[in-house]
Subunit: 206 residues, 3 copies
Amino acid sequence: MAAPDTGWMSSHLALVVLELVGIFVFAISGALTAIKKDFDAIGILILAEVTATGGGVIRDLIIGDTPPAAFRQVEVLLVPLIAAVVAFFAHPVVERLNFTVLLFDAAGLGLFCVTGTLKALDHGLGPVQSAALGVTTGVGGGLLRDVIARETPALVQVNTDLYAIPAMLGAAAVTVAHRLELPMSVAAPAAAAFVFAFRVVAMVRH
Amino acid sequence: MAAPDTGWMSSHLALVVLELVGIFVFAISGALTAIKKDFDAIGILILAEVTATGGGVIRDLIIGDTPPAAFRQVEVLLVPLIAAVVAFFAHPVVERLNFTVLLFDAAGLGLFCVTGTLKALDHGLGPVQSAALGVTTGVGGGLLRDVIARETPALVQVNTDLYAIPAMLGAAAVTVAHRLELPMSVAAPAAAAFVFAFRVVAMVRH
Amino acid sequence: MAAPDTGWMSSHLALVVLELVGIFVFAISGALTAIKKDFDAIGILILAEVTATGGGVIRDLIIGDTPPAAFRQVEVLLVPLIAAVVAFFAHPVVERLNFTVLLFDAAGLGLFCVTGTLKALDHGLGPVQSAALGVTTGVGGGLLRDVIARETPALVQVNTDLYAIPAMLGAAAVTVAHRLELPMSVAAPAAAAFVFAFRVVAMVRH
């Protein structure tokens, strides 16, 4: 009847698009980890699925939004399948596999800490708690990937603060943008890009 | 009043019986892993409980059916206790402990990927998502067992595909049987037996 | 209108106070583990948060009380932050870090297995299931801490039974006190103190 709720619309649309991109890049990082560890085709698929959906499943369980998106929308399961196939055929051209895993992991971290924060705010959680859930969403999939692959979690590797700090800053930026009622279709991708850029600069300098 | 809903009845009864058998065999695999790692009596009990109930707890959390069966029905906690006692006294006669663990793990995998798929279908999830939840249920308990015991997860060991592929096929078979409205009291045990036989043949040939 | 429900009141107040103390001591054990593993400042904070909130988050997910307290009450996130700062500045004076970690872990185990059992009873779970959830709550945070830090879980270390047995006894004592309608503001701290004392005596004798 009245003016359409474009704030929510843009927030919601940003959430859906960023979520699928995040699922794709995290799936690539999971598949490349599996390739690095000499897993076979199915092992690559499983690690791609776990890495891509783990953070979101944890987030949805915590919010109480069950079944989680990964078990409701079939595309959330299919995107990692596509990513696994892409990684499987593309990896021979990738020379520095380790760095590439971290690059895609950084993109997933940025996207998921933003979408996790947004979803928590949408569900009425406070700003600190929303940021905490954003960080949890961002690091959850990669943590499961590293535990299953028996790697030292990226989360607690020597330069931890350059992993968690950008996630915390990105999540905090989203809560501030939400409070200031900035347009989320701009603020959310900007926050995700900031987290990614921060991580990449930190890795290159290291 | 009308004809009894025997389809649901048979599906439901099959679910309860297969579930308890799955809990028992997974508990045996957990207890034997603990014995192999020289855990003491309580360590054996804990690993039996975690392995037996882990997959089902994850499944119920994802579906949103809380508290999970393991925390609602006391028999789900008592069956692993019995299994732990059986494993404790029976294991000296078992020579090839490693193979026996994998044998019981294969039985649990078959039973749980079927019951997980059935429960997801009962809750109205789509066929792909139900099969995915079935596989998750099947591999969840064994994954927790291996992470806690600090073993390389059976899920991602060298011959991964011969672990996950039968689970995927079994889960898919259940969704097809459900779509074709085949009697579940026959189809469900058949699918579980198929997964078990596939795994055992793969292990023997390896 | 009638006499106030002091039984519930005392149980509830005991729950809140013991919960926050448990969060603090578990956070200290997490922070000290991170310091022992040479994690940096943020790594210390993250391990403090995970150890302190992990058991309670698992408990609340299982009970179906979402979002868990850690994502609803901001103090549940702030207490581990304070604990991390305290551990960071206090640890140089602590000579035997390993023992100190176990000491705080023992306190957290006692407090959380009591609060977990109480919360399960409050939600109408049976006595065996409530005790099982109490033990799960008590061991959950420490298990996550050890898995992330890639340590052998305290839960399954050589003297496992002297870890899990006091937790089981403490949880059982709470269910008995609940059945006998003893005042919980006395019984709950007493059960937590018993678990702590049992663990410490076991460690000193070992």
